[in-house]
Point group: C2
Chain length 295, copies 2
């Protein structure tokens, strides 16, 4: 089977970018020292994010190449959803052993490109290098109106906590097939008095304390209310990670009718209230685990 060492970097890149679809915002795509794109429009902010998937950590040698690429792209898009922003342009870094089959790399790129096209993201450049294991890093720009992006740190005592979807058991397949909650996040920013938002990547047990720390508050979660994936225990829902659902803190002044409007807008995705922020030092600790990258 043809390997990366057989064809070399320049030929690999030519095959990766062949037929790439780029929209009018791209002035200079892959092939120059830098990509050149139109800046955000007046009144918008520029958002930046990078994220990595590593063989043996985020996927295995058995994972279908398209799904690896899909996941690498979707994880970053999910971070733009978490800010109620719109992803725009991506740079792809591929590290791979020289003996990697060309077909595997092109399969990963097909996954990256499919997900990018679906969410209106241009792949404008990237980088390749050899290394001991396969690693895909996606760096992305996005935009949001200057007044409308949602940070992690704007909530306070008394705000209600909601999550989208169900938590836990992602390893059974969702971690490769999840849909970043971009349109849901835009709906939330437009229709709810949301004060803080993030996407759940390391598990509620790890990510909720992070959001609470950013907001300088404690939290109280009603364990029974946490929406679990079918067949999952509470510990799994809290600790498995890779849910890529939205966690949001909303002003208690929210009109609860908004939950009916949510059901009408997204009939197949639950929006569940799971607790509230309380004064710092009060509330609970979540000892459900969560993903720790260096352990």
């Amino acid at each position: 089977m043809q390997t990366l060492a057989d064809i070399g970097e320049d030929a690999l890149i030519r095959r990766m970018v062949a037929g790439l679809k780029l929209d009018h915002r791209v002035i200079m795509g892959p092939g120059d020292d830098c990509a050149v794109v139109l800046p955000p429009m007046k009144g918008e902010r520029l958002l930046l994010k990078t994220d990595t998937v590593v063989e043996g950590v985020h996927f295995t040698a058995d994972t279908a190449p398209r799904l690896i690429g899909r996941k690498a792209m979707a994880r970053v898009i999910s971070d733009f959803a978490a800010m109620a922003a719109t992803p725009c342009h991506a740079l792809i870094t591929l590290i791979a052993p020289p003996e990697t089959p060309v077909k595997r790399v092109l399969g990963i790129y097909a996954g990256l490109r499919g997900m990018a096209e679906e969410y209106g993201v241009n792949i404008v450049g990237g980088e390749t290098s050899r290394g001991d294991q396969m690693i895909i890093t996606v760096s992305m720009t996005g935009t949001a109106p200057a007044k409308d992006w949602v940070s992690r740190n704007g909530a306070r005592e008394g705000d209600f906590l909601f999550v989208t979807g169900q938590l836990g058991g992602s390893i059974r397949g969702k971690h490769l097939r999840f849909r970043p909650r971009v349109k849901e996040a835009h709906w939330i920013a437009a229709n709810m008095p949301v004060k803080a938002m993030m996407d759940l990547s390391d598990g509620l047990a790890k990510d909720l304390p992070r959001m609470a720390a950013c907001c300088d508050v404690g939290f109280q979660v009603v364990n029974e209310a946490v929406p679990r994936t079918r067949g999952c225990t509470l510990a799994q829902a809290l600790g498995d990670g890779e849910d890529y659902e939205l966690l949001l803190a909303v002003s208690p002044k929210m009109n609860m009718r908004v939950r009916d409007e949510w059901r009408a807008a997204f009939p197949e995705l639950k929006l569940t209230m799971i607790g509230e922020f309380v004064a710092k030092g009060h509330g609970q600790a979540l000892n459900g685990g969560g993903w720790e990258h260096f352990r």
Copy 2:
């Protein structure tokens, strides 16, 4: 010695970003799902680039950590120089084995931060993950006036070829200590009828044919004119790579007095004419080697 596994991701990130200097363009730095920054100014374009250094490829286990970080940051800045652009914001991805000493990672970050500060680049976020070898990826945004950035592909038959500095022998130390040619590139864009430019990372023997292919021309290099680092053969000057000097194609209508002005502006850096672009299919092939990533 304390390792990454000992302190975990959150504590590592806290130590990496402690005391980070960010300028007024940064609205939200490290710690949220995305960084939020001011967009380029009216009349400017947004430029994007990513680049990676891999242990065992671009540095070794013996390389001083500060120099690893310095190199990772300087390589990307050099790509903005190649477009006559100005680098602005960076995202850092660190892959490292869990047994890596915390001190080594913090040393690399000191190198990244030092170089970033020197060139006015904000480190606005990043990502960490475990992996089998140390890898640092830097993704960067930059800006350039809409009319003034320089691509690789604007030159034609008859244009003169110049390089800055001396080529070859980078492995003796320059590959870790080079200075990206940002102010030199801005000077060139302002003072010379430059039509194409790139930075030399894989060696003139590999990079010049790339630029010629982008411009759809051939090239003729006067071997004796190629400026060699002291003690280097022609083959080394053409093939060693990692020079991080500028290669530029300039209209033959250039007033040669500009070379005196260059000497006045940059007395310690040579600007040397090495040849010209000729009709496609004419000229020469450069068989001096050059760096091939997957071989």
